[in-house]
Amino acid sequence: MRPFDYERPARASEAVAAVAADPGARFLAGGTNLVDHLKLGVSAPTALVDVRDALDDTVQALGDGGVRIGAGVPNSDLAAHPEIRRRYPVLSAALLAGASGQLRNMATTGGNLLQRTRCVYFQDVTTPCNKREPGSGCSALEGHGRDNAVLGASEFCVATHPSDMAVALCALEARVRVLGPDGERTVPLDHFHRLPGAAPERDTVLSHGDLVTAVELPPPPEAARTAYRKVRERASYAFALVSVAAVVRVRGGRFVDAHIAFGGLAHAPWRARRAEEALRGRPVTEEAFRVAADTELAGARPGRDNAFKVPLAVNTLASVLRELTEEVR
C-alpha cells in the first residue's frame, strides 16, 4: 500500500473539486470495498477524499410520491427505513441479502453502487486483468469461471457486478444523481453501470471527479407484488450466483406488467426487458414464467464452468414469479 493524503471536506462541491484536481485522488465513504483494494494493491491512490461529512445521509420524500436517498445513507439504515420497508420492500430485501450486519452498517448507498467486481483475478494483482490493468488480458476467460458473466460479456472481461442493492434499484427504475466538476446530472440506473465491451476498466458511466450524491426512486407501481431472491453457495454472507428482483402487477389472472432485474449474470445489474415483454398481458401460468425466463436467457453465452447459471437463472425467475402469483393462479 502506497502512502496517501487524507482529507475530509464538509461539502460535496469541495470533495468533487479536490478529486477532480488530482488524478490520483479517490473518494472514500464506508471504505468496505476501497480499503480492501488498498490492501490488495488493486487501488493505489495518492489521496483519499472522505465524503462522509459531505454526503446527505437522509431519506426524503419527493413531490412525485417517490423518495430521494442520500448517497451517504448506510445500507443498514436504508434497509430498516420504515418508508423503504413499507413502499419498496424489494429494496430492503436486496440490501438485507447482501454482506453482513457489520458491513451494512459501514457501506453507503453510493459506495454500494460503485463496488467493484469480486472476480478473483481482478482482486489478485499477480494475474493479468483488463479491468485492473487495461490490455493485460483476461485471466477469467479461460480460468476459474464459476462466477463469470453469462450475459453481455466481452472477450475482454467476463466479470459480474456484485451488488444486490443495485439489482433491486434497477427493477425499481431508480435514477442516480451525480455531481461532477461541470455540475449536476441524473443518470437512469440501468444506464449507470456499463457492459465491459473493450473498456472493462470502466464500471460505470462516471468520470473522474464525479460523485454520486443521491439515488431517486419513482413512486412504486400501485398494487405491485415484489420479491428479491438470491441464490448463493452459503445460506448467508456470500455473493450471489444468481439473484432476481421482480416487481410485477397482476390483474384478472394476467400480468399487467413486470419489472425484472438479474444479479450475478452480467457486468451490470441486468434488466430483463425481454422477459418483461414476454410477460406483459400474458396469463399467469407456469408456461408463461418459463417462456419469459427462457427468452431472457436465450442470449446467454456461458463458459466451461458457469453453464449452470443459465438453468439456475431460468429456474430462479420462474420460482419468483410462481411465488408472487400464488394467490391469483
Binding site: 496517501f4 487524507y6 471504505g31 443498514s76 450486519g101 452498517n105
Partner: protein, 167 residues
C-alpha cells in the same frame, strides 16, 4: 503520512499518531495494545475484528483510523464493567459458545450490536414480513450473526447464548 488522532477506546481517551494507511484494527492492536479485536482475514470476510464504533458494530479491519478521529470505540474488553462480564459475554461463557476463542470477542461485540439493531426493530434477511415487529427467533439470530465466522463450529452454542440474553 502521519496524522495525530484521538480515539476513545473502552472509555479511555487515547491520542496517537498514525499513518493514514493504518486501519482502526491495527491502531488498536499494534499501537494501543488492545488485544480484543482480532485479525482473522484483514479483508472484511470473517468478522473477528468486530468492534462497536459509536455503538454500531463495524469491521475495524476495513476502517481507516484516520477516518475515525474522535470516535468512541468499544471492544469486548470494554464491555465488561469492572470485574463483571457483560451479559452477552457471560452467556457465551455459560453456553460454551467458544472453543479456540479467536473469533469470540468479535462474536460478543457483534451480538451486542445486533441486539441493539433488533431492539430498534431492524429487519434481517430472515424476517418474513419486513413491516412487522422483529421476533428474534433462532433463524433470525443465525442470520444476523452470520458475519462472524467460527471455524471451531460453536455456532449452536452462540445462538443459545444470545437467545438467553434476548429472551
Amino acid at each position: 503520512m502521519d496524522t495525530t488522532i484521538t480515539l476513545h477506546v473502552d472509555g479511555e481517551e487515547r491520542v496517537l499518531t498514525v499513518d493514514t494507511r493504518t486501519t482502526l484494527l491495527d491502531a488498536l492492536r499494534d499501537r494501543l495494545g488492545s488485544t480484543s479485536p482480532k485479525k482473522g482475514c484483514d479483508h472484511g470476510q470473517c468478522g473477528a475484528c468486530t468492534v462497536l464504533l459509536d455503538e454500531r458494530r463495524v469491521l475495524s479491519c476495513l476502517s481507516l483510523a484516520v477516518a475515525h478521529d474522535g470516535a468512541r470505540v468499544t471492544t469486548a474488553a470494554g464491555l465488561a464493567a469492572r470485574d463483571e462480564l457483560h451479559p452477552v459475554a457471560r452467556a457465551v461463557l455459560d453456553h460454551d459458545g467458544l472453543q479456540c476463542g479467536y473469533c469470540t470477542p468479535g462474536q460478543v461485540c457483534s451480538a451486542v450490536g445486533m441486539l441493539a439493531e433488533a431492539g430498534a426493530g431492524w429487519p434481517s434477511h430472515a424476517t418474513e414480513d419486513l413491516t412487522a415487529a422483529v421476533e428474534l427467533d433462532d433463524a433470525e439470530i443465525r442470520e444476523r450473526m452470520s458475519g462472524n465466522l467460527c471455524r471451531c463450529g460453536a455456532y449452536a452454542n452462540i445462538v443459545a447464548a444470545i437467545r438467553e440474553v434476548s429472551g
